[in-house]
Symmetry: C2
Subunit: 695 residues, 2 copies
C-alpha cells in the first residue's frame, strides 16, 4: 500500500489511456516513491524515461502495475517474479470471467503468486487508491477531478466500478477515504485479506466492503473477527439476495456463492452491518467516523417542529431504538423554562428556539445529563444555516460537545456547505434528513453490542472431533452421535424382539411411541413405521410385529434394526433444528418453528457452527414466531434456556464432524414449559459418505 518504487508495465504517453492514467494521477497527486514506466516502443512517456522491460529496471521494484493485453500478462508476471517484485496489480481483463481458457490463464497467475511469494491483485481489477501515500494505481476516471486528502474509510470491493463509485459518492459528501482496493477476479489477494489488512491499518477507522461471492469462507470469518477485535465496524454489501440479483451477480463474475441466508447468518454473527444501498452504507460509514459507539439504544430527539418530532419517533421505533421519555423531574424543569414546549421526548423547542438559543443548551443538558440518552438527534433544518443563528448556536453546541464527549449526537440541518462544516468542526455528525441519521444511529448501536460481545470464533473442544461413518445412519445411531455432543434427546430404548418390546413397555409404564429403526429410513410416519399411544405389554408385543410386517411390504430392501420405544411427551412447542453444510462457510445450524412456519413462511435462522448459548439465544430471538415460544395466547413460556443449550450442543456436534457430515435434521424438537427442558422426538444424521453413495 505504500510502495517505495512502482513500475508501470504498459505505461502510455496518453494520460487518458488505461496505461497512462495511473502515471498521471500519481504525478499530479505528488506520489513520493520512484516511478519506472515500462514501454518497449518509446523512450519517454509523460516526460519520464521508459524501460523496455521490467527486467531492465535498475532498482528493486515494490509494486508493478500491469496494463498490457491479456496475452502478455503471464510473461510480464513471470518477469516480475524473476526480478523480485513484491507485488503486482493486474488491470488486464480476459481471465476467469471469460470462460475455460481464461480460467486456465488465471490459474497460472495464482501459481506464479504461490511459487514466487509475489502478491497479486486482480486480474480484471481497477486497481488501488492509497490516499496517504498518494499511491493511485488505478485507471478509474474518478481521479480526473483530482484526489482528496486521506480520511478514515477503507473501501474494499470485488467490483472495480462499484468500488470507485463508492469513492466518488464519499468524495461528493466530503467523507474522507483512506484506501480503495478493488480485487477483481482474486487470483491471489481476496476481499477477506483486504478486510484483515484494513482491520490492522492504523489510519482506517471503518471498512466498507462489497462482494458478489466469497470463495474462502474461513478467511472471511477470521478477517471479520479481527475487525471486531480491533473495534473496526464493517459495513458489507453482498449482492445476490434476490433471484434476479443472484443471476446478475453470477453472470458478472461466476463466483461460487454460498447460500444467501448463510451470509445473513455470518454478518449477524460477526457484527457486520449488511447494507442494501450505497447511501445506507456510506451514511453508516460517515457516522462511524465519529468513533462513538453508544452504550445502549436509548435515543433522545430534539426538534423545532413537533411534526418532525413525531416522524423521527416513528422512524426510531421502526429501527429498534428506544424513544424513552425524559424523567418527570427533567420534564418539569424544561416545561418551566419554556411553557409551550413539549418536554417528553421528542423535546420540542418550538420556533421559540429562534429567539432564545440558550434553549438548545438547556435541552441538550437535560437530555444527556438527566435523560442519559446515549444517542441524540436534533432537527434544526435550514434555521441553523442562518449566519445570525449559526454563530451563537455553534458556541452553545461546542460546550455541550465538551461536556458529553461519549454521546453520539447528530444534527439534522441544511444549508451552504461552509456553514454545515462549522457544525461538523464543532464535533457533530450532520445529516440533511433526520431519518438517515436515525437509521445510522441504529447501526452504530448494533456495532456497540458487537464490540462488547465476545469473539465469534468459539473454540472447539477438539477431543470431540471425529469422523462419522461413511454409510447411512439409523435413528438409533443418529441418537448416539448427537448424545455424545450433549444434545438432549427424549428417553428411549430399543427393542429387538416382540418380547423385549413387551418388557420395555412394562418397565416404562406409560404411553409410548414405537418407531421402526433402520439405516436411511426416512418419512417413517408416511410409510406406517410409527405407532403412538402404546400403553401395555400386550399392545407393545403386537405393535412390534405389526411394524415389521408393514416394513416388509413397504420397504422390503430396508434393513430393520429393531423398534425404538419412547414415552409420549405432551405439551410444549414443536420446533425444527437442523444442520446444513454450506460450500463456502461449512456447517451451519438452522432453527425454526415447526410446520407452516418453516414450510410456508420460511421463518428460519442460521448460524455458523460452533457457537455458544448467547449466540443461540440471539438466534432464537431472531425468528418472527419467537412470541409463540415466549408464551403467546396464554400458554406458559417455553424453556428457552434448554433450547439455547440444545442449539449450542448441535453446533458443537456439527463443527466436530464438519468434514464428514452432510446434514442433520431434528424434527420435531419439543420445547417444554420453562424449567422442564427440551428434547428431540426424532432425528436423522446423514454422513457425507452416505449421501455420495446415494447419488
Amino acid at each position: 500500500m505504500e510502495p517505495a518504487s512502482v513500475a508501470i508495465v504498459g505505461a502510455s504517453d496518453d494520460p487518458a489511456r488505461i496505461g497512462g492514467r495511473p502515471l498521471r494521477y500519481m504525478m499530479e497527486a505528488g506520489f513520493k516513491g520512484a516511478i519506472y514506466p515500462v514501454n518497449p516502443n518509446r523512450a519517454t512517456v509523460q516526460g519520464l524515461k521508459t524501460f523496455p522491460s521490467i527486467r531492465d529496471v535498475p532498482e528493486a521494484v515494490d509494486c508493478a502495475i500491469v496494463a498490457v493485453p491479456v496475452k502478455f500478462v503471464v510473461g510480464t508476471l513471470e518477469d516480475c517474479a524473476a526480478m523480485g517484485v513484491k507485488s503486482a496489480i493486474i488491470f488486464s481483463a480476459g481471465f476467469a470471467e471469460t470462460g475455460a481458457d481464461g480460467e486456465a490463464l488465471q490459474a497460472r497467475l495464482s501459481e506464479i503468486a504461490k511459487q514466487s511469494g509475489m502478491r497479486i491483485l486482480g486480474p480484471n481489477c481497477i486497481g488501488v487508491l492509497s490516499f496517504k501515500s498518494r499511491f493511485f494505481a488505478t485507471f478509474s476516471s474518478t481521479g480526473d477531478g483530482g484526489y482528496t486528502e486521506a480520511g478514515p474509510l477503507a473501501i474494499v470491493s470485488q467490483s472495480g466500478a462499484y468500488g470507485t463509485h463508492l469513492y466518488a459518492v464519499a468524495r461528493s459528501w466530503d467523507l474522507g477515504v483512506s484506501h480503495v482496493i478493488t480485487t477483481g477476479n482474486e487470483c491471489d489477494i481476496d476481499v477477506a485479506e483486504c478486510i484483515a489488512w484494513a482491520a490492522e491499518a492504523r489510519e482506517v477507522k471503518v471498512i466498507a466492503a462489497y462482494a458478489e461471492g466469497i470463495k474462502d469462507g474461513p478467511a472471511l470469518l477470521r478477517s471479520l473477527d479481527l475487525a471486531r477485535a480491533n473495534k473496526k465496524p464493517v459495513i458489507f454489501i453482498k449482492v445476490g439476495r434476490s433471484e434476479e440479483g443472484a443471476a446478475a451477480a453470477a453472470s458478472h463474475t461466476a463466483s461460487l456463492a454460498g447460500a444467501d441466508e448463510i451470509y445473513d447468518a455470518v454478518f449477524r454473527q460477526y457484527g457486520v452491518h449488511r447494507a442494501e444501498t450505497t447511501e445506507e452504507m456510506l451514511d453508516i460509514a460517515y457516522a462511524c467516523t465519529a468513533g462513538i459507539y453508544p452504550r445502549d439504544n436509548r435515543i433522545g430527539l430534539m426538534t423545532i417542529s413537533g411534526g418532525v418530532g413525531a416522524l423521527m419517533a416513528d422512524y426510531a421505533g421502526k429501527h429498534g431504538l428506544d424513544v424513552a421519555p425524559m424523567p418527570e423531574a427533567a420534564q418539569e424543569k424544561l416545561k418551566a423554562a419554556l411553557p409551550f414546549a413539549s418536554p417528553r421526548n421528542p423535546v420540542d423547542t418550538t420556533a421559540q428556539m429562534f429567539n432564545d438559543l440558550s434553549l438548545v443548551g438547556t435541552n441538550f443538558s437535560a437530555m444527556l445529563d438527566e435523560g442519559k440518552y446515549s444517542i441524540a438527534v436534533a432537527f434544526f433544518t435550514i434555521v441553523a444555516a442562518s449566519p445570525y443563528i449559526a454563530d451563537p448556536l455553534v458556541k452553545e453546541l461546542e460546550s455541550i460537545r465538551a461536556r458529553f464527549p461519549d454521546r453520539l449526537i447528530f444534527l439534522s440541518l441544511m444549508g451552504p456547505p461552509e456553514i454545515v462544516a462549522r457544525y461538523r468542526d464543532a464535533g457533530y455528525l450532520t445529516f440533511a434528513d433526520p431519518c438517515r441519521a436515525i437509521a445510522a444511529a441504529a447501526a452504530l448501536a448494533g456495532f456497540a453490542r458487537s464490540f462488547a460481545g465476545r469473539s465469534s470464533a468459539t473454540p472447539l473442544d477438539t477431543s470431540l472431533c471425529s469422523d462419522l461413518p461413511a454409510q447411512a445412519l439409523s435413528e438409533w445411531e443418529s441418537r448416539d452421535v448427537l448424545a455424545a455432543a450433549g444434545f438432549p434427546l427424549a428417553p428411549a430404548r430399543i427393542a429387538n424382539s416382540a418380547e423385549e418390546a413387551a418388557e420395555i413397555a412394562t418397565s416404562y409404564n406409560c404411553p409410548l411411541a414405537m418407531k421402526i429403526n433402520g439405516a436411511g429410513i426416512t418419512h417413517k410416519t408416511e410409510i406406517g413405521g410409527v405407532e403412538l399411544n402404546v400403553a401395555t405389554a400386550d399392545h407393545a408385543r403386537q405393535v412390534y410385529g405389526l411394524l415389521h410386517g408393514r416394513m416388509k411390504k413397504q420397504t422390503p430392501a430396508a434393513r430393520i434394526d429393531g423398534v425404538i420405544m419412547s414415552p409420549m411427551i405432551a405439551g410444549g412447542v414443536e420446533t425444527i433444528l437442523g444442520v446444513q453444510v454450506d460450500p463456502v462457510f461449512g456447517p451451519a445450524v438452522m432453527f425454526g418453528l415447526g410446520g407452516i412456519f418453516v414450510e410456508v413462511f420460511q421463518d428460519v435462522v442460521f448460524r455458523l457452527a460452533p457457537f455458544g448459548k448467547d449466540e443461540a439465544m440471539d438466534m432464537i430471538l431472531g425468528i418472527e414466531g419467537v412470541k409463540i415460544l415466549q408464551g403467546a395466547r396464554g400458554r406458559p413460556p417455553c424453556d428457552l434456556d434448554a433450547l439455547a443449550g440444545a442449539l449450542a450442543a448441535l453446533s458443537r456436534f456439527a463443527a466436530s464432524h464438519g468434514e464428514t457430515l452432510a446434514s442433520a435434521d431434528i424434527n420435531p424438537f419439543t420445547v417444554l414449559p420453562k424449567g422442564q427442558g427440551a428434547v428431540a422426538l426424532d432425528c436423522l444424521v446423514v454422513p457425507k459418505g452416505a449421501r455420495s453413495k446415494e447419488s
Copy 2:
C-alpha cells in the same frame, strides 16, 4: 391563493419579525396585488402607508394575514368578517393547542367562519406560499434566501415547520413547488380541503401531504378520490405509526387520530403512497413530475458496473418490480454488438461504454423496443459527468427519449449540477443513487395501477340501509341481519325444545354442532355452551337439556333463546372477519387468518366499507398468510372468490348500518376448497345501542 388585495394585520416595520416577513417576501418577490399594512402605531411600515384598522382599508380585501397577539385575534377576525374580507390566514398561536381556554377561543373562530362565509386558515399556522402569484403569506424564514420559480408540486401540511422544511428540501433539489399550504389548528380549512383544491388546480401535478391526524374522514376520502380521478398522485406522511410517534403527535396537536391501521387501509384503498421519510416523499414527488405512469412493473436495468447491476436487481426485486430477462433474440443481438456484455437484464455495457457511446442507444433501443420494459434505470455514475462524454451521450439519449416518450426512464449519475441539468433537460429523471430511483419507480407503478382502477367511493344501495335495534343481538339475530346483506352463513336451524332438537337432528341426518343462543352471550365455548358431533335424535335431545342446564349454572341472568343446530363442516381454512367502526373514517372491515396469525402476528388487513370484490381480493392478497389460502403444503387452494364475495357483502352490511353498528365479529369463517364456497360458523353483531348500555 391568488388574492388581488392583501391586508396584513399586525404588519411590522422590522422585516425580520413575524408581522414584517410576509410584507418583505411579497415585495421582494414582486407580488402584483395591492398590499394594505394594518398597524395603529405607525404611519408607514417598510415604506408602505399603514391603516389603523382593517375597517379603515378603503378597498375590498381578498385576504387578511393576521399576525397579532392571541387576545386581539377574535376582534380582528370579527372586523374582517364585517368588512367582507374573503379569507384570513392566522399566524397567531395560543388556541386549541394550549388547553380548554384556547379551544373555546378557537371555537369562536370556527363560528365566525361559518357565520360570515369568510374562510380561515390556521390559527397557529405558518401561512401560505403561492409561487405563481408570488403570494408569500408566511413568516417562515425559508424566504430569506429568496423564493424560487413555480413548479408542479403542491405541499399541504398541518405542521408549519415541516411544510416549510419540505419546501426547503425541494428547493435544494431544484424541485419546483407550486404551493405550500400549512393548516395549523384547522379551525376552518383542513388538509383534506387543501388536497381537494390542489387536485383541481391546473398548475399542480403532484401532491405531498403531511398530517398528524384527520378530523373529517369522509372529507379526506372525497379529496383523495378527486385527486385519483384527476390522475394527481398523492404522497402522504401520516405520523403516529409507532407508540412513541403517536404520543409525540398527540402532545403536539392533540388531534383526534383514528387507528393507524385504518390510515393504512385508507391510503391503500385510495391509491395514496404512504411515505415514512422526507426523502422518500420528495423522491417520489420528483419522479411524478415526469408525468409518466408505467403501464406495468417490468423494469429494465442498464449498468456500466456488473456489481451495481446485481445490487439494483436485488433492490428492484425487493420493491416488487419485475426484473424480467430480455428476449433471447435481443440478447443475442446485444452479445453480437459487445461480446463481453451481459445482455440478460441487467444489461451490462461494461467500461466499453466509454469508448463507444452508441452502445447506450443500441441497448436502450433493444430494452425498450424488444424488451418492452415500461421502466428503465441506467447507472452511469460520474462517468456521464465528463464533458467529453456528456455531449455525445446527451445526444444519444435525446433520440431515445423522442422514440419512447411513454417510458419512465431514470439515469443514475453524479456530477456538477450544470451537467446533471443537461440530462434532465433531455427529458430524463436523474438520481445520484440508483436505489432511490428504483424505489420511486415502484411507487409510480403503484399510482399507475390506482389511476387505472375505479373510484373507491363504491355506491351503496340505500335500500339496504336501516337501523339496527338498540339492544344486544343473539347469534341467531346476528345471522338474520348478516344474511339480509347477502353474507354467506353455514346452514342452521334453531330448536326451542328438546323435541324440536331431536326432529332437526333427524332431518339433517349428519353430525351437527349445537350452540346455545341468547342475546349478548359471548365466548360460548369457554362457558360450555357448545357441543359438537351430535349425530342422532336422542343425542340431540340430551344435549339440548345439557346446554340449558349448564347455562343456568354459568350465566343464570342470560336469557336463553333456543339452541342453534348446524351441520359440522370439515376441511377448509379458518379465517376471521370483522367490522370495526373508526371514530374518524367510520366502518372498516377486518380480515385475517384464524388463531395465532391474528393473535400473535397481527397479520390482519382493513378496508373502509363499502367496497367491491376487486378491493376484497386486494385485501386478501395483502396478508402474509395468504399462501395458506392459496394451497401451501399440498393442500387444495381455497375458494378465494367466495371469500372476496363475503368480504364485499360484509362491507355492504357495515356501510348500510354505519350509524347504529358498533362492531361485528365472524369467527371462524371457513373458506372451503375452490368451488365449494365459504361460510361463517359463528357470528356476533353488536349494535351501538347495546354497547352504550353496557358501559
